[in-house]
Symmetry: C2
Subunit: 289 residues, 2 copies
C-alpha cells in the first residue's frame, strides 16, 4: 500500500513533466503555450491531480500515461480558474504562487484567453485519457454554472454584501461550489474510471465531500495564518476587501474546530478501505491547526 508521501514524491515530478512537455508539444503556437505554461508551471501543490491518482491507487488500479493525462487535465482546469479569479474585474490580484498573475505579466486579454484555452484543453485531456463521455460529464458539471463558476458568481455577488455576512448556509454553499466541486469531481472521476463498486464509491465520495469542505476552510485560515511570502499570494486580504467566508463569520478558533471536526469525519468515511494515500492528504491541514 502506497503512503501519501510516497505517492506525492513519485507522481509530482511526473505530473510536472507531463504538463510542461504536453503544453508545449501539443500547442501549435508556442507563444500561447508559454502564456499557459507560465501559470501552470508556477509550482502549485498538484493537489487535485494527486487526489485523482491517490483514489485510483487506493482502488488498486495501475497508473500510466492515460491516467496521468486525466490527472493533468484537472490541473489545467484548476489553473484556468485561478487565472480568471485573479483578473482585475474579479479579485484583482497581482501575485499568485509567488509570481505576477497572468494579466500582470502578459496583459488582460492574454490572461482571459489563457484561461479560455486551458479549460477546453483540460477537458480534452480528460476525454482523451479516459475515452469516457461520463468523465467529460462529471468535470463539465463540476466547473459549470452549478459548480465552480456558480460559486465564483456568488462570491462576486456577495462581496461587501452585509446581508449574507452571517448567513452560514449561503457561505457554505458558495465555498462548496467554488472549491469543493472540483475536489469532489477529482475523486468521483477516479471512482468511475477505476470502476469502483457502488458501496465503495459512496465511501470515497463521502470522503471527498468532507475533504473538499475542509480545504476551503483551510485556505481561508492560510489567509490569516501565513505571511504573504509563505503563501505566495496576498494574504490578510479577505477581511480587508469585504469577503464573506467561514472565517470572517466564525473567527479563527471556531474555524479551527470546524476543520478538526471535518478531518475526523473524512477519516471515518474511509474506515475499512485501504486508502492510506488518500487519508494522508488530511495531514496537509496540520500547518494551520
Amino acid at each position: 500500500m502506497t503512503t501519501f508521501k510516497e505517492l506525492q514524491a513519485k507522481y509530482t515530478p511526473l505530473i510536472n513533466d507531463f504538463l510542461e512537455k504536453q503544453l508545449y508539444g501539443e500547442t501549435n503556437d508556442q507563444k500561447i503555450a508559454e502564456i499557459m505554461a507560465y501559470s501552470v508551471m508556477a509550482g502549485g501543490k498538484r493537489l487535485r491531480p494527486l487526489l485523482f491518482l491517490a483514489t485510483l491507487d487506493s482502488l488498486g488500479r495501475e497508473i500510466g500515461e492515460s491516467e496521468l493525462r486525466i490527472a493533468c487535465g484537472i490541473e489545467l482546469i484548476h489553473t484556468y480558474s485561478l487565472i480568471h479569479d485573479d483578473l482585475p474585474a474579479m479579485d484583482n490580484d497581482d501575485y499568485r504562487r509567488g509570481r505576477l498573475t497572468s494579466h500582470k505579466k502578459w496583459g488582460e486579454a492574454e490572461a482571459i484567453l489563457a484561461g479560455d484555452a486551458l479549460l477546453p484543453l483540460g477537458i480534452k485531456w480528460i476525454a482523451q485519457g479516459s475515452r469516457s463521455y461520463e468523465l467529460a460529464e462529471i468535470i463539465t458539471e463540476a466547473v459549470g454554472p452549478n459548480g465552480m463558476v456558480g460559486g465564483q458568481y456568488l462570491d462576486i455577488d456577495s462581496t461587501n454584501n452585509a446581508a449574507v455576512a452571517n448567513d452560514a448556509e449561503f457561505i457554505n454553499r458558495m465555498e462548496w461550489l467554488k472549491t469543493g466541486c472540483l475536489i469532489l469531481a477529482s475523486v468521483e472521476m477516479a471512482t468511475v474510471y477505476g470502476q469502483a463498486p457502488s458501496g465503495v464509491k459512496e465511501k470515497y465520495l463521502a470522503f471527498a465531500k468532507h475533504f473538499g469542505r475542509a480545504y476551503q476552510i483551510y485556505d481561508d485560515l492560510v489567509d490569516v495564518v501565513e505571511s504573504q511570502e509563505e503563501a505566495g499570494k496576498a494574504t490578510h486580504k479577505d477581511q480587508e476587501v469585504g469577503k464573506n467566508n467561514t472565517l470572517t463569520m466564525l473567527g479563527v478558533d471556531e474555524t479551527r474546530n470546524d476543520l478538526r471536526h471535518l478531518i475526523k469525519q473524512a477519516q471515518g468515511d474511509l474506515t475499512g478501505e485501504s486508502a492510506e494515500a488518500l487519508l494522508g492528504f488530511l495531514d496537509l491541514y496540520q500547518k494551520v491547526l
Copy 2:
C-alpha cells in the same frame, strides 16, 4: 429530402425552445441562468446548430431530443465566444445582436463568468446528448489553443500590427482558427455521431472547410455592406480599430470574388450527395454579393 428553408423553419424554434427551457431548468441559480440566457436568447441565426442538424439530416439520421441537445450545446459555446470577444480587454464592443453586450448589461465580472459557465455547459450537453467521448474531443480541440482561442489570440496580437497587414497566410490562419474551426467541428461531430462512411465523411469535411472559410469573409463583408441597424452590432469598425482581415487586405471587389469562388468549391465538394439542406446554407452569402 429536406431543403434548407424547411430545416431552418422546423428546427430554429425547437432550438430556441430547448435553449431557453434547459438554461433555466438545469441551472440552480436563476440569476446566473438569466445572465447566460440574456446573450444566448438574443436572436442569433443558430447557424452552427443548424449545420449540425442539416448534416445529420443529409446523412439520413433521425433528429430527436439527444440530437437537439448536442446542437444547442454548440450554440452555448458559440455564445460564450461572443461574450468574451466583446469584453473591454478584447474588442470592447457595446452592442451585439442588437442589444447591449453582456458586460455592458451585467458588469464585467458577470460577463466573464457567463462565458466561463456557457463553455463547460455546452461541452456537457454535447457529451450527454452523444454519449461519445469522441465528440467531446472534437469540440474541445476546435475551441482550444489550436482552434478558436488560438485565433482570437492571433487577432489580439496582430491588431495594429502593420507587419501582418498584407500577410495573406497569417490572416487566413487567424480567420480560420477564429471562425472556421467551430463550423468544421459542427459538421465533423455530425459525421462521427451519424457514423458516416469514411468516403462520405471526407466530402462533408471538405464542404465544411470551404463553407467555414467563406463564412469569415462573409462576416467581414457584412462589416462594410450592412448598416449597424441591420447587423445588430457596430459595423464599419474593423478598419477603424486597425483590424487586419481578408477585406482590409484585398478590398471589397476581390473579397467578393474570393467568396464566389469558395461557394463554388463548397458546392462541388458535395457532388453526388443528397445534401440539399446543407447546400442551402450557401444562399446566406448572397446578401453581400
